[in-house]
């Protein structure tokens, strides 16, 4: 059993990293462990558990800012800001349902380290866009800070962006400062029933290109929608396309009317008009309040693909792609439309985010998903000038137009296939140098993202 170090004072973190550095040990950096099963299986000597470093340091609602120790539970922060009518606008998802993680939910440090976001990503950003400042211990055993507590700050390199999404491989976060925003007064979700994937993406594109200020755009093929209690009855075995509006009541009512007009135009224009229940765009096609909130929580946490529905070992992929390419990608993976085959797909971010359960295969769908992404999104070299200038013209096969991550799979599979997307050689070399600039001896989560990083 791996030894666990659980600091309860800040200097102990520094001490632990220095000790590991001196003794040539590798540390698994851990918050609450809710995302512990994401990434290449850990090859570490000890676990550095930060869940003991908790506490709110500052919360000023009028200034829209909050600071906390990195080990503070997200739930505690959310409850505190909710009491002031505010929220973390990037709507961080919970991986609990997908990964069967321990109860209690993630820490704020873990949310930042994995650059977590939610359905509002295209409007409000991800964790990266809300981290204003931090203090951390680098893999060199040195405490350093970056950023501050103000929104507008260009003093020095923006290391906040680098921390967000580094999966604990660069530095151990000690405390963080994030932007907090007002929670919308109300929300309403317009539902469209029975659209196939292509028509749904067109409808979502029209919605996002309108000035209705849509804050959520997701498409759940029939088999997926049937697993979401808040809409299953209304869906009655049809696909559901959901468009969320948030704000003050007069604005939401006004935008709903605009949105229904914008979307009706595309669905009528779609080739497969028969499949579209245009009537559903009217009065009956909307939910609000807790029903709407439940729907978006289910989408955010990818509940239809929870272990309870699919089995805990079923490989699950998360794909970020240009929204207009999403239906083609899903089609290539499933071999047919509407996720009705062995593959199942959930579309979020208007098509920019796909959650994919590929058909069962020995590599967990890695080759299928990545070749489909390459076909839909393009590969390097992306342009003639790029190829000529880089001198790596033969370095094809690296995906340029998006990325696919194996979010859930048994450890043996995560050891066998690339969990994070393989990088082209110039980027891979730069990534390695960046890692070494923070953690030259590979003390922090070595190999979690890629071998040697």
């Amino acid at each position: 059993m791996t030894d666990i170090l659980k600091p309860d004072k800040m200097p102990q973190v520094e001490e632990a990293v220095r000790w590991a550095l001196t003794h040539g040990k590798a540390l698994e950096v851990l918050g609450a462990g809710s995302k512990r099963a994401i990434g290449r299986p850990a090859q570490t000597d000890l676990t550095l558990d930060l869940s003991g470093l908790t506490g709110m340091l500052l919360y000023e609602p009028d200034e829209l800012v909050l600071s906390a120790r990195a080990g503070t539970p997200l739930a505690e922060i959310e409850a505190m800001v909710a009491a002031s009518g505010q929220e973390l606008a990037f709507e961080p998802m919970s991986f609990g349902a997908l990964l069967g993680a321990p109860s209690g939910g993630p820490t704020i440090g873990g949310v930042i380290a994995a650059n977590v976001s939610g359905p509002r990503r295209f409007k409000a950003g991800a964790a990266r866009d809300h981290l204003l400042g931090f203090t951390a211990v680098s893999g060199r055993g040195e405490v350093f800070k970056s950023g501050g507590r103000v929104v507008k700050n260009v003093t020095g390199y923006d290391l906040c962006k680098l921390m967000a999404g580094s999966w604990g491989t660069l530095a151990v976060l000690l405390d963080i400062t994030i932007k907090i925003l007002p929670r919308p007064e109300m929300e309403l979700t317009v539902l469209l029933f029975g659209l196939d994937d292509g028509a749904a993406v067109r409808a979502m594109t029209a919605a996002l290109a309108s000035n209705c200020d849509v804050s959520g755009a997701a498409h759940l093929p029939a088999i997926v929608a049937a697993r979401v209690p808040s809409i299953a009855t209304a869906a009655s075995n049809r696909a559901v396309t959901a468009l969320r509006l948030e704000g003050v009541a007069p604005g939401v009512a006004h935008r709903r009317a605009m949105l229904e007009r914008a979307v009706a135009a595309t669905t009528v224009a779609a080739t497969d008009v028969a499949a579209t229940d245009v009537a559903a765009c009217g009065e009956g096609g909307a939910i609000e309040g807790s029903a709407s909130r439940e729907l978006w929580r289910a989408i955010r946490d990818v509940e239809p693909f929870a272990a309870a529905h699919t089995g805990a070992d079923r490989p699950l992929w998360r794909v970020s792609i240009a929204p207009s390419k999403s239906a083609a990608l899903a089609l290539a993976v499933s071999g047919r439309v509407s996720g009705s085959g062995d593959a199942q797909v959930l579309y979020d971010w208007g098509g920019g985010l796909l959650w994919i359960l590929p058909p069962p295969s020995r590599d967990g769908g890695a080759a299928l998903v990545r070749s489909a992404l390459a076909a839909a999104g393009g590969t390097f070299p992306a342009s003639g000038s790029f190829a000529a200038a880089s001198g790596t013209s033969a370095a094809t096969g690296f995906i340029a137009g998006g990325h696919a991550t194996l979010i859930r799979a048994p450890a043996a599979l995560r050891a066998a296939v690339d969990v994070f997307q393989p990088q082209e050689p110039v980027l891979a070399a730069l990534t390695k140098r960046v890692k070494e600039s923070f953690d030259p001896k590979g003390v922090l989560n070595p190999g979690r993202m890629w071998a040697g990083v």
């Binding site: 220095r18 009028d62 990266r128 290391l159 680098l162 000035n211 009512a253 006004h254 970020s320």
Partner: protein, 497 residues
């Protein structure tokens, strides 16, 4: 001007003729500028107090040329300073005597407009405003709007992580850029991001934004475009004190309203702007707020009424809501002309750019008045009140002996004050050379060393834009050494399970 830049490398200067010749082989025709007269326009950027002729100017047109230039300079140990339109207010594009000035002006085409994915792919020399102009026929715009947007380029916006008056609601450049093509100092080319969200690996795109041309040269940028809000209305609200105005901003935001923009002006700025533009600003108030609400008509009207009633509760003495688009633009005209307006009442002015926690505003303004007396120079304040970004304009006369030095000392004192109250040295203008030597006010040696190690990962010879941002240059080998203190102990104090 007492500004220490890296010592010019005599060996490089001796080879100047050969270097020019070699660059001409890479960029034929008029793309290489070597005569003193023709290089004169490049000797400074928007921070005109500092001037330096470069060794040579080169204006490439393709990524392949940029790559070849950098590859050559890397091999030969020649410094390179990238430049967009040269509107930097912090000296980020200040040339080096022994450096190649790499002008990106010829990268001026928009490569793709993709409405389905709501992005524009542009070359870095395209101006900020041109991006909006390219898509406004379809009702779209590019959100970050620095006041130099008519001239400043997208590549420069990425380098500086430029802001504007709408940042609180729509973010700065870094929140609106999805991808770029980047050439490293070695000449290697890579792509970061694209039309999709988030980096899977390290968010290097996020680091490039705001890196002030020290990490790589951007040769293509993919930005997000947004649909223009249906309508916008502005409120012009006058207060008897800056404390009241500051409290009102807090009340509006605390009430859950995020306006498209909230600007504040103090008495000297109000008077200068009104005398210049005649926007109808009240002259008997100490502080003026412009609050802009954007969105659908019904929503804007609803929120305008709420802001008006909040303003009254905050002791506002005047409040006008724009009744037409013409009136809204008039409200803004005074604010947007604040810099030239101040230019009319003073021979010269020096624009500062600190950010502070908004609640500290009354304290900072009070201390600034004291400093104004100490240094014997007037100051006018315009303020992006929503996000705490302060632009004090220090009034001075460069022809009066010692005034420029006093203005600079006053400016430094203001920035130190910003840091002291929990703010930062620069909100949107960048560190450049201007604030370089103040960096230790905000960062420890360990903080700065870690930033410079990151620089080494991109540019191990330190050839790209050296002398900017960091007060002390260290060799990468020296920064890379690992010194462990206290690591030998077996951490007896840490709870273990």
């Amino acid at each position: 001007m007492a500004l220490a830049m890296p010592e010019p490398d005599g060996a490089v200067l001796e080879r100047r003729d050969r270097i020019v010749e070699r660059l001409r082989a890479i960029v034929p025709g008029e793309g290489v500028i070597a005569s003193v007269q023709a290089m004169r326009p490049y000797e400074c950027d928007g921070l005109t107090a500092y001037r330096q002729l470069p060794m040579v100017v080169v204006l490439p047109e393709t990524t392949a040329q940029v790559s070849s230039i950098l590859q050559y300079c890397y091999a030969e140990g020649i410094k390179v300073v990238p430049r967009g339109a040269g509107t930097s207010l912090s000296g980020g594009a200040l040339p080096l005597a022994d450096g190649v000035l790499l002008g990106m002006a010829k990268f001026n085409r928009i490569r793709e407009i993709d409405f389905d994915n709501r992005v524009v792919v542009a070359e870095p020399g395209v101006t900020n405003l041109k991006v909006t102009q390219a898509v406004e026929h379809a009702g779209f715009y590019y959100a970050p709007d620095p006041s130099s947007q008519i001239a400043c380029t997208i590549g420069g916006n990425v380098a500086e992580n430029s802001g504007g008056v709408h940042c609180l609601k729509y973010g700065t450049t870094t929140n609106n850029v999805l991808g770029c093509e980047l050439v490293l100092m070695t000449g290697e080319v890579l792509r970061l991001g694209g039309k999709h969200f988030d980096s899977e690996g390290y968010d290097l795109l996020g680091v490039i934004n705001g890196s002030e041309g020290l990490l790589g040269v951007v040769t293509e940028v993919t930005v997000r475009i947004l649909r223009k809000p249906e309508t916008a209305r502005a409120l012009l609200v006058g207060f008897p004190s800056s404390e009241d105005a500051g409290a009102c901003v807090g009340r509006i935001i605390g009430a859950g309203i995020i306006p498209g923009g909230i600007e504040m002006m103090d008495r000297p700025a109000i008077h200068a702007a009104e005398a210049f533009i005649h926007a109808g600003y009240p002259l008997d108030v100490e502080a003026l707020l412009i609050v802009e609400l954007d969105g659908p008509q019904a929503e804007v009207d609803h929120l305008a009424a709420r802001v008006e009633s909040l303003a009254k509760e905050c002791r506002a003495v005047t409040c006008r809501v724009s009744a037409s688009e013409q009136e809204r633009l008039l409200f803004w005209a005074g604010r947007k002309a604040a810099f030239p307006a101040v230019g009319r009442i003073s021979p010269d002015y020096y624009c500062m750019d600190g950010t502070i926690p908004r609640a500290k505003l009354p304290l900072v303004l009070r201390r600034m008045r004291e400093l104004s007396q100490t240094y014997g120079l007037r100051v006018a304040n315009v303020f992006h009140a929503g996000d705490g970004n302060l632009h004090p304009l220090i009034l001075y006369d460069a022809n009066a002996p010692g005034e420029l030095e006093r203005a600079e000392a006053f400016g430094s004192a203001i920035l130190k004050l910003c840091v002291e109250v929990g703010g930062v040295l620069t909100g949107e203008h960048g560190v450049g050379v201007e604030k370089r030597d103040l960096m230790p006010e905000m960062f420890t040696e360990a903080d700065l060393a870690q930033q410079q190690r990151l620089k080494c990962a991109f540019d191990d010879k330190g050839l790209l834009n050296p002398g900017k941002v960091f007060p002390t240059l260290h060799r990468c080998a020296e920064l890379g050494r690992v010194h462990v203190h206290g690591g030998a102990m077996a951490f007896p104090e840490i709870p273990r399970f």
